[in-house]
Symmetry: C2
Subunit: 308 residues, 2 copies
């Protein structure tokens, strides 16, 4: 799947991923009104509004981008109907040729991590038959529990040719509270990065590993160091745009081959129509605003890469 | 909810929690056969078998115990039908007067953590109405992302009188890989424990905090230290029984008042009928074997507490 992600990135010339993290407050009123009229002011109604919103954004952007990253929390908050729309979104995006990164940040130990790996990347055998529970192509994983928590994901990645992105240095202001603590003179995130490199070596695609890392755009100096520590890992970079990460800072997350990183934007794309810059599109044409925001993001990042 | 957990523990005189972590391989054949006959060899069939299994175990043990802890990964692996049974299990257990600890180990940043907190402990407003997505009483939370990831859970805990258990030192063999790394001469888990104590102070019930911690039974020396660092936090202790934790070691997780800890057993209870000790019950009477295993566990732990 890492090979296919790279193919998609090369084909679109766009090292970006659109974060499908729908909040009810982002969804234009004409969509929520219609969904509530059909399904009531219920979890089902909210989930239907999310689905129509996602579908319009995917239809308007899929030819420009290699991948999407739905954040499962935003669906889980709508209970079962929300998770049904998560699953439907995964399937729909895959049908459009997109690689789907499930931003699930799961992580547990032994058989429990194996169950999460099965849920999101694997297949489960029931009697004589085999089923795919959620079927994302990649999942994000939390490393706090150590190798026991990661190994079951690696096993499924090898078997299914799927991939993971392990949290190394997150984009939020307080990520340093534990991640930056100095251990033997070096920050903890570097030690996590070294383990990621080790796991990555054991799980290689053609030129990059099935095992990637999450490193926030808001910490470019750390990104530069981590790029070197994990040479074979794709870096998934959240924090561009709304959270403050700039394209010029992002060049450090890429390798010399122009590959090795994929930059996420969520709010900046899916709620673009709410920005002054794209307000002329109007709420009715929110998906066209998203398409323009994607084009602008790609130009911004490719421009910075060309200038380095 | 921490007050109610303590009431339940006092009433039952049982500082234990039963982990409802169903694996298909634990479920007696007569249940899976029946479920597959009704719903096919499908995700729905597997979920139905899980539901019947859970229901029988809860019916046979609820009067002896204060709480249950369903591990959501074991449901998530069966996709949407699995999560429907998770939600049904939560509701059913609450109907029996049990406190439900959702072992979800979620954790993200800002609005995403808020969405997880809403999903598992809170309510969501849709139009003029309010819904409870999964509605557990407590949730387990991963601290790797720092205060940004925890704060939204604290907000929901205060509003809804719910609680969380934050992973501090997990029970698995490789938990030390990152958690034990020395920071300024002290292991990382102690620093996490100090943050837990700080968060706990800001979110108090009558005598204990809404904010608890997870500390594995397999590391009793660390449990002793962490007990002192987090005096107002309930400690949820996994790793008893199947993972090797012994009752004599567990006394260090309790405070002088005899409170402050709740010990989990999953496989040791729900698959008791598969142990030699309880084999005489037979697979048909698996739930009676679970009841006996619960009684034995309570006696084991209370015996150790009386002997200290």
């Amino acid at each position: 799947m890492i090979n296919r992600l790279i193919e998609n990135i090369k084909r679109t010339n766009a090292p970006v991923v659109v974060g499908l993290d729908p909040m009810l407050s982002y969804i234009p009123e004409h969509l929520t009104k219609k969904a509530f009229a059909e399904c009531g002011e219920t979890l089902e109604g909210a989930a239907e509004a999310v689905w129509q919103y996602n579908k319009a954004i995917v239809d308007a952007t899929y030819d420009l981008i290699p991948a999407v990253k739905p954040q499962i929390a935003m669906y889980e908050q709508f209970g079962i109907p929300g998770l049904q729309v998560f699953a439907r979104t995964v399937e729909y995006c895959q049908g459009k040729g997109l690689v789907v990164i499930g931003d699930v940040k799961r992580g547990d130990i032994g058989s429990t991590s194996a169950a999460y790996a099965t849920a999101h990347l694997g297949r489960i055998q029931i009697g004589q038959k085999t089923f795919t529970p959620f079927g994302e192509d990649f999942a994000t994983v939390n490393p706090y529990l150590g190798t026991d928590g990661i190994k079951p994901f690696l096993d499924v990645c090898r078997e299914e040719k799927k991939g993971i992105f392990i949290l190394v240095k997150t984009s939020n202001p307080s990520s340093g509270e534990f991640q930056d603590r100095m251990v033997d003179g070096r920050p903890l995130y570097e030690l996590v990065g070294e383990k990621v490199a080790e796991w990555a070596d054991s799980c290689m695609g053609d030129s990059y590993s099935y095992v990637g890392a999450v490193v926030g755009a808001t910490y470019p100096e750390m990104g530069k160091v981590l790029r070197k520590i994990m040479p074979k890992s794709y870096i998934l970079v959240p924090g561009y745009g709304a959270q403050g990460g700039k394209a010029a800072d992002l060049v450090h997350y890429f390798n010399e081959d122009g590959l090795g990183a994929i930059v996420n934007s969520s709010r900046g794309i899916i709620a673009a129509y709410k920005q002054e810059k794209y307000a002329a599109f109007g709420a009715e044409h929110f998906a066209d605003a998203s398409r323009q925001a994607v084009a602008d993001m790609i130009e911004d990042i490719n421009g910075a890469l060309a200038a380095r």
